[in-house]
């Protein structure tokens, strides 16, 4: 049969199959759905960060026009917390009791006939509080801490001995602020019960998880819950949990016996659906005089919600980033009265990469060695912890190609040595990786009597291009033109697939689709095994390939048959096959599964008088294994890198240190990159198909962001001679 191994390393740049719908305003996002008879919800959120509710007066709200109900902790029965998910615990149930654990916690849900009525009535809910001084700071002595929260702390060799033996040492502390995911689409939940059957349009990156959670919380079988998320206005991690507002909307719909739609406001998006938590990192590096790393110590601490968990191991990536005999990584979380953090694009690596790659630049400077040369001397050609060869690793090629394209050799060594009028100019780089991740997945492929294929799984396309790349893959594997393949995604009724997150969906669902397509061809061969009318009778899978809308013998192009002909002769309306994929295991492979690698080369200009920083050039070279579609993959890298520009220069969720209120919870005040901030970008893919899966992909959703902030901070240093170790880099640091 046709296999993924016959696919090109960089796949054709097919236009997105969902492009016409998206550009015509016809793609329907969760908030675009309505249900007959729906009511509208509006949330009331706490105005203190810690303490208790002493009383809630809902009478004015209840009397307001159109109001159907006001839900508070006084009338909502204790709801069970959602189950453990593949990414950790579920958030605590909403409206559990009178305790306030963070500013902006939901304290009531008002449901009314119209959106305007619900919003107006929400302002009439009066809440009395007894507040206590909140814990808001990493260094608050009252805070409880969690050591080694994920069991990822690591140690090899002896870091102190390594440092002692080093000719050159650097040591520095790096801080990163809270960032807010802020997908452009407001998160929305539309919940409708029909008896015990529940249908939910939810802004989720993980329909199957939301289904499991709602079944668990509301005590109904999973089979009676359907969660739909065919399109989502971004998420960047915010859609990886079944948040309290989702549970509330479903609860209200059940109580009121009518559909309830709840759309968060932009300010509520800052406190209700996670954020990248602020943190502080301490790095010590030691190297021999010729630039060989002898010691890496990386300690990270980040803020965590009072009663929730978050995956944010800042330091863990440093254990495998370079070939170094002595490594120590330590992570700690600090519980505080803050909204729950969540993975935000490249969780932990966004922050960890900033610290490590900044420190590497500082080491290069201390060694008086070219920063690229320092990286090249320390490339981990085998997995540094496992000692196993990588399933693929083209990091050296990333460096070489990037340096060539960027013109690295023309870069002067000395900082503050170039200018363009009143702009100081600097160039720098960072080397990065994003770890391999894969979850088990199922998929189904069906060919129908009209010779079309329907392929799908419950995973969703968050904008990465899943619809498109899986259309291309299925078309290729089934020998059909892409126009005759329809992808079904974002529906929990489809075979269970993992979340759109962790750069793992293409690999997981793609491999399951690969398996389903392979089995579907086998099923067709089974059907014609003893069929005297079939030119394919008696063929084994290895004898045939899929082409021209059907199957043909490899040894005789004239012995072929289309799917529709086979189905028609056998009186079948369709033929289906289920496929599955499981993550690779290093022990069985004898190799270490590799994530994507990359190198960023950045040029910045800094206004000498104003301290204004502009990114003027960015060259990124990525080893993402097999690239299924050059166009959509390039967009992923561009989007990630611009996320890195935002992290480096703009994004900063500011929490008032006294009240715990977020002071800039709007798009007017929380700055994100806009058109005018972004230069032309140069993205290139290198490398080979990865050997951990038949598909050979590695996932490119996150690697584009990792290290960009470091490359920019390093370039700012090169331009100005000023080292900034605290993000975002704002002009006050440069004056």
């Amino acid at each position: 049969m046709s296999t993924a191994r016959e696919l090109p390393v960089v796949g054709p740049a097919l236009d997105r199959v969902d492009g016409p719908a998206k550009t015509a305003g016809q793609a329907r996002y969760p908030s675009d759905f309505d249900a007959p008879g729906q009511a509208h919800g509006a949330l009331v959120q706490s105005t203190i960060a810690a303490g208790r509710i002493t009383g809630i007066d809902t009478s004015a709200a209840e009397a307001a026009p159109g109001v159907l109900a006001v839900f508070t902790h006084l009338n909502v029965p204790p709801l069970p917390r959602g189950p453990m998910t593949g990414l950790g615990v579920s958030p605590p149930a909403p409206l559990r009791d009178d305790r306030i654990l963070h500013h902006g916690q939901h304290v009531a849900l008002v449901v009314a006939e119209t959106r305007e009525q619900a919003t107006a009535a929400a302002r009439l809910v009066r809440v009395g509080y007894a507040s206590v001084e909140p814990v808001l700071d990493l260094d608050d002595p009252r805070a409880t801490t969690v050591d080694d929260p994920w069991g990822l702390d690591s140690e090899r060799g002896d870091v102190e001995a390594g440092l002692a033996a080093s000719a050159v040492r650097v040591e520095a502390t790096y801080t990163t602020p809270d960032n807010t995911n802020n997908p452009l689409g407001l998160f929305s939940t539309l919940a409708a019960w029909d008896g015990d059957r529940l249908t939910v349009h939810d802004a989720t990156q993980w329909p199957s998880m939301v289904r499991e959670t709602l079944a668990h919380v509301f005590g109904v079988p999973e089979t009676s819950v359907r969660v739909l998320s065919p399109y989502l206005g971004g998420g960047f991690g915010a859609g990886l949990r079944a948040w309290p507002h989702v549970i509330l909307a479903v609860h209200a719909a059940r109580e009121l016996r009518r559909p309830v739609k709840l759309v968060l406001t932009r300010p509520q998006m800052f406190t209700s659906v996670g954020h990248r938590p602020k943190g502080v990192q301490h790095v010590r590096l030691g190297a021999s005089a010729d630039g060989r790393l002898l010691a890496i110590e990386h300690r990270g601490r980040s803020l965590l919600a009072a009663e929730d968990d978050d995956y944010e191991p800042f330091a863990a990536g440093s254990a495998v980033a370079y070939a170094c005999p002595n490594v120590l990584t330590r992570d700690q979380q600090v519980r505080a009265n803050v909204p729950a953090p969540v993975s935000m694009r490249a969780p932990a690596h966004a922050q960890g990469g900033f610290a490590l790659e900044s420190a590497m630049d500082e080491l290069a400077q201390a060694l008086e060695l070219d920063p690229l040369e320092l990286r090249l001397r320390n490339v981990a050609d085998v997995h540094p912890a496992l000692g196993l060869p990588w399933t693929s690793n083209a990091l050296r090629e990333c460096y070489a190609v990037g340096a060539e394209r960027f013109g690295w050799s023309r870069r002067p060594a000395r900082p503050r040595s170039q200018r363009d009028g009143h702009w100081l100019v600097g160039q720098a780089m960072a080397g990065v990786s994003y770890p391999w991740y894969q979850a088990p997945s199922l998929a189904r492929a069906t060919v129908t009597a009209d010779g079309h294929a329907v392929v799908g799984g419950s995973g969703m396309d968050i904008g990465t291009g899943t619809y498109t790349v899986l259309t291309q893959l299925s078309a290729r594997l089934l020998g059909l033109p892409p126009e005759r393949v329809r992808l079904e995604l974002g529906d929990s009724d489809l075979p269970k697939a993992p979340q759109a997150g962790g750069s793992g969906l293409t690999g997981a669902l793609g491999s399951a689709v690969h398996d389903a397509c392979t089995k579907l061809l086998d099923a067709f061969l089974d059907l014609v095994r003893d069929d005297p009318a079939s030119p394919l009778r008696g063929s084994a899978p290895e004898d045939v390939l899929a082409a021209d809308g059907g199957i043909r013998r490899r040894d005789d192009a004239d012995r072929s048959e289309t799917y529709d002909a086979i189905l028609a002769r056998h009186g079948r309306r369709e033929l289906s096959a289920d496929g599955s994929s499981t993550p690779a295991r290093p022990a069985e492979l004898g190799m270490a599964p590799a994530g994507a690698f990359g190198a960023h080369f950045v040029e910045v200009k800094v206004d000498e008088d104003l301290g204004l920083v502009r990114v003027s050039r960015l060259t990124t070279v990525i080893d993402g294994g097999r690239i299924l579609n050059e166009k959509t993959a390039r967009s992923q890298i561009i989007g990630g890198a611009i996320g890195g520009i935002g992290m480096a220069l703009f994004e900063d969720t500011i929490t008032d240190p006294v009240s715990g209120r977020i002071a800039n919870a709007t798009f007017g005040d929380y700055l994100v990159p806009v058109h005018a901030d972004i230069p032309a970008m140069d993205v290139t893919f290198v490398g080979e198909p990865d050997r951990a899966s038949p598909l050979g992909t590695k996932g490119v959703g996150e690697v584009g962001l990792v290290g960009v902030a470091a490359a920019i901070a390093n370039a700012v240093h090169h331009a100005t001679g000023i080292r900034v170790r605290s993000l975002p880099i704002t002009l006050d640091a440069l004056l």
Partner: protein, 178 residues
């Protein structure tokens, strides 16, 4: 549950205490008369009352551009415009951009250049881009970037959006027939 958007009656008297008003205007060439609460924005009217959900809400505060539509040919933020202000005006939304059943050249260029990822900002970007060409502000990439900066794209498809607009501008602007 069916997902056909319902057009509620929205009679003014269904909102006691708040004045209602009837607004007569043109949407994508079709005359419309909508009775609604005076608090209803053009954005909510399009989405909730006229079932035109192509126009998106990203902030409801005039800060993201996702709700960009044309009123009398000029780009405006529908979330900062009350429905009642649209009396007698002509509103064009993303749904009204195609010509004779064919996509507008800008829509085609966005697809060709992959000028979006999640697609949520896209209707607003495209409406802004079409107006940009009419305003003759797409002469250079720098101009395009400057005058498109009111349209946020959190997926950050910016370079591809600029490429799409440049492409249409070079092929003859709003009159391009690609």
């Amino acid at each position: 549950m069916t997902f056909t958007p319902e057009v509620p009656p929205a009679a003014p008297d269904s909102h006691p205490g708040v004045a209602g008003t009837t607004t007569a205007f043109t949407v994508n060439g079709t005359p419309r008369s909508v009775a609604a609460d005076t608090r209803v924005t053009l954005l909510d009217a399009l989405r909730d009352l006229l079932a035109l959900t192509g126009t998106k809400k990203g902030c409801d505060q005039g800060a993201c551009g996702a709700c960009t539509v044309h009123v009398d040919g000029r780009r405006v933020l529908a979330c900062l415009t009350l429905l009642a202000q649209c009396e007698g005006r002509e509103v064009t939304t993303i749904e009204g951009l195609s010509r004779d059943g064919r996509p507008h050249p800008m829509q085609e260029a966005f697809v060709r250049h992959d000028g979006f990822q999640c697609g949520y900002c896209t209707p607003g970007q495209i409406m802004s881009a079409v107006a940009l060409l009419r305003e003759d502000r797409a002469r250079t990439d720098k101009d395009i970037r400057e005058f498109m900066s009111g349209n946020l794209c959190r997926c950050a498809a910016y370079p591809n959006i600029v490429a799409a607009i440049r492409d249409v501008a070079q092929r003859g602007g709003v009159d391009a027939d690609l």
